[in-house]
Subunit: 376 residues, 2 copies
């Protein structure tokens, strides 16, 4: 869900992408993104494409043929990173974990040790495909000790839970607008440390991608404002408004809201006899993967929720296909009304399968959490 | 300028990028793009990034390290093609022409002959940086005879003047939404022939770019609808509406409108003593580059038009910087009211410089064209 102010911003008349008014707006968007990423990185900007292009931008600017990279793989997006990096000529060392679990520091350390000189260590903060919440601080230290850059996928985490780019020592971090920022999909906020930029500047060959070349992008996104490509003006309007809404709420309050709604959902799901699938202690607030009970067809359940209740939840992916469903509570969608609506609908649909659970029980448990936290 | 219906479409509530409603909309957008490109190519779709990413997608999927490509260079975008192709490992043979002139078939033939086995011949249909209108049919034949694919940049031409992908033998063609389609910037319509797809399928290594991989994109944009990246839903709404508006007007009527407004502008400019800078007989309807008269500072003129009249025109680029200004009449902006407003403003600003020309004369010449064409 997107706030109506963001939708209205999309409908504003267009100005040129080099118009003084637009450049001023872009300045303020970049400042707000620095605030959101908790960074002072000069090169902080929205890439003119979706989150996966942000991923590609990070690898394409840092990697040259033959470079070693260490990638944590415990879901779709770590797997995608390996594909992106390999195509760019990297030799990939995987630090693996079962889908739903986090990548353990010991496994990351072992993968780093298997390299002679890793250029980059990469992890996914919030694995949208499983609901696992990857801790980052120790991994950042391991990367730094190995002389490697530290890259983080924050597509689903940014603006929904704490993420501190500078304090944690993250060199490259990208996100997407359509998750906890609650803006339509189409842009990828990206921030790059001075340390990473030195690597980019010292390349012998330019990056394979012209569109995602950080040197060229930097010349548009800093005070030079040199034309590179035409910025997607309306999407920038929307992002600006979405960031203003986040600022009005405040980061602490926003994180607390995501946490409380997750806890209320978890309590209700538990009352329905359902289990969260991600590793205990490392469950995301904004993406809840739920084990599908025996005897329930996940596709039929998702279809019933969409057709009978107007609620879209996600399918399990990869090895979790058919085994879990994924419930997003991101940004504007992380609201008690949505938690109640989902629990009520899910309870009703499961009751049809005679699983001995009721929507009423689920709602009661959910309200207990809201009551404990001092109401909504 | 963008039609208000397109702006309103951007403000529509979001659905998921795999939602049945959205996929149906995407089907119709793809059908309409086929109609606009005059092609039956199955792989016809909007790339989720701006026009330059469309350019990169074409080269990245076809080129492997060491491939020879022939590129026509007579402005910014041909030059950009050389950069994009070189980064991807191509050996580039340039067919050059002075900025403002077209690339001559003889020069293209010579560049093709200088290759042992060219993989690709690439031209810019409408050079936005100069206003030159490149003929394509003979070049397409030359490419075909050399066993090369034929690639065309149609960023500024599509929906503003005739472009026949199938009839002319174009294998790869990309555009942008923000020119004659009159949709906000952010998407790159792209079409790929079966002949080009065979080359893509026979690659030994996957394309360097995961985001722009036509094999992966094809699996989302055909009936399989396999998740690749999150489509920019609101931008697709906007494109759908913009294409519907084009369909309502009809292509012939739309082209005639672009032509008439260009002719009216040219007549008015001539009355002001101004000269069009692009090669005679090869001047674009939607982008008019105008030689800046002696004694006039082009930046001051552009600033005066923006600040005193609310009209944005473009600067000259590259070797034409300071020597020309560029007047766009694209899509919704190609209207008699805009032509009159521009001529009136330009006449007033030039009168301040005592060049002995008047806005009244310019408007009279412009009206003569509109009168001859049977009114507006």
């Amino acid at each position: 869900m997107v706030h109506r102010r963001v939708l209205q911003a999309m409908a504003e008349p267009l100005v040129g992408h080099l118009d003084p008014y637009f450049l001023e707006l872009l300045d303020s968007v970049q400042d707000r993104l620095r605030w959101l990423f908790c960074t002072t990185n000069r090169l902080t900007m929205p890439i003119s494409a979706t989150g996966s292009a942000g991923m590609e931008a990070c690898f394409a600017n840092v990697i040259s043929d033959g470079d070693e990279v260490v990638i944590g793989v415990n879901g779709v997006f770590g797997t995608r990173m390996c594909d992106v990096a390999s195509r760019l000529g990297a030799r990939v060392q995987r630090a693996e974990a079962p889908w739903g679990r986090i990548v353990e520091p010991d496994d990351l350390r072992a993968a780093i040790s298997a390299c002679s000189k890793p250029k980059l260590v990469a992890l996914v903060h919030a694995e949208t495909s499983t609901g696992a919440w990857q801790p980052l601080e120790e991994s950042a230290r391991l990367a730094r000790e190995a002389g490697a850059l530290f890259l983080v996928d924050a597509v689903t985490s940014l603006a929904g839970c704490p993420l501190e780019v500078d304090a944690w020592g993250i060199d490259l971090c990208y996100s997407g607008t359509q998750k906890c920022i609650s803006c339509p999909p189409g842009l990828s906020p990206l921030t790059v440390s001075e340390r990473a930029l030195e690597i980019v500047r010292s390349r012998e060959q330019p990056p394979r991608s012209w569109y995602l070349d950080l040197g060229l992008l930097g010349a548009y996104f800093d005070e030079r404002r040199v034309y590179h490509h035409t910025a997607p003006v309306s999407m920038i309007y929307a992002l600006s408004e979405a960031l203003e809404i986040i600022e009005e709420e405040g980061l602490e309050a926003r994180f607390a809201r995501h946490r409380r709604n997750h806890e209320a959902l978890a309590a209700g799901l538990s009352a329905l006899g359902l289990k969260l699938a991600a590793q205990e202690g490392h469950r995301l607030w904004m993406l809840n993967s739920v084990t599908v009970p025996e005897g329930i067809d996940d596709a039929a359940l998702r279809r019933a929720l969409l057709n009978n209740h107007g609620i879209e939840i996600g399918a399990g992916l990869g090895p979790l296909a058919g085994k879990v469903v994924r419930i997003g509570l991101m940004g504007e969608s992380s609201r008690p009304a949505n938690v109640r609506r989902l629990l009520s609908a899910l309870g009703d649909e499961l009751a049809k399968a005679d699983l001995g659970c009721s929507a009423a029980d689920a709602l009661q448990e959910c309200e207990r959490v809201y009551g404990d936290s001092g109401g909504i």
